[in-house]
Amino acid sequence: MDYEQSPDRHVGTARVGSEDGRPKKAPVPVKIIVAGGFGVGKTTTVGAISEISPLTTEAEMTSASMGIDDPGEASLKTTTTIAMDFGVQTIDQTLKLYIFGTPGQSRFAFMWDDLIKGALGALVVVDTARIDDCYPAVDYFERAGLPFVVGVNTFNGQMNYSLDEVRWALAIREDVPVLAYDARFRGSVRDALLVVLDQALDKAIRQKST
């Protein structure tokens, strides 16, 4: 440290500016959301595709506490800190893909709105042992109009239900893909994200032509 530590005067001097005096070009960031219930493999998914080991950030979420948690207490609001992890995949010098893994509780409406702003799409991770856990995520992305794909994390090829059964349980539209993948393998996560991107591309093309 090149400045004196003083506990009650929290100041220091910063020297900034690059040598050539020109503003730095920054890559365009794009993001995909990985959502789902507790312990379904979100962090594993992010880690498998990221070129850095996943980072964790803490965010304040304002919970609107309605619906499932306290029916009838719709106006109660509290703030909760949640841990969200993310990874990066550099596409090229001008384009970076961020993958954000987020807990899928329905209460955290505020943070999710922040999170999906500008997002390309979402992968909803499902463990067939606890399909219900992904309801809030599916419901949210449906209502928000964000392209999403349901990815059944196969946990060593173990699936308690077929993909058709999962689709039936989630009651999602025919055009929402349901696929099986393995969160531990980069190639498998990559292929799942490519399906998300296909959905995103369809939507972007539809939007452009209207």
């Binding site: 005096g21 619906g67 719709a74 969200m84 409406a109 419901d139």
Partner: protein, 150 residues
């Protein structure tokens, strides 16, 4: 294809139907569009915001988690708090707000506010996108890039 009748006791509805779709459901929840209303009630968690002088609503909504931040080459040397100094120290190469938050152990909300302040102070360039609906060309490039990774 045919699905089992969920009401048939011989083949019970497992897995169950998404509760939001049942008419009796008490709601689920909708995407909120009331940012001002939701950010103001931070009373239960003031501590992380002490270093932002108590402000919790100063974050520019255009600054997202993935927003890229770089040094402003025209910046004049100024006195900065240690947190701000640490942020500036990370930005010689483009870095996202989320990375700033994670690596400096700052709450995301705090990182956003400080980044906004540093931009206002002329220290940082914050590369807010003009258009945050992704365009087909960009998505195509992501697809090609991802296909190429092994």
């Amino acid at each position: 294809m045919t699905y089992p009748d969920p009401d048939d006791p011989a083949s019970p509805a497992r897995p169950s139907v998404r509760p939001f779709l049942q008419p009796s459901s008490s709601g689920g929840y909708r995407p909120a569009h009331r940012v001002e209303e939701t950010v103001t009630d931070q009373s239960v968690s003031l501590r992380p915001f002490v270093i932002t002088s108590g402000r919790t609503d100063g974050a520019d909504p255009g600054i997202g988690m993935e927003t890229q931040v770089t040094l402003n080459p025209m910046a004049a040397p100024v006195r900065l708090s240690p947190e701000m100094r640490a942020i500036v120290g990370m930005c010689s190469e483009p870095v996202s707000v989320a990375e700033i938050s994670a690596r400096l152990h700052l709450h995301l909300g705090v990182a956003r506010i400080l980044v906004g302040d540093l931009r206002a102070a002329g220290q940082l360039d914050v590369h807010v996108l003009d258009n945050d609906t992704p365009d087909p060309e960009t998505i195509m490039r992501v697809i090609r890039g991802l296909r190429a990774i092994t």
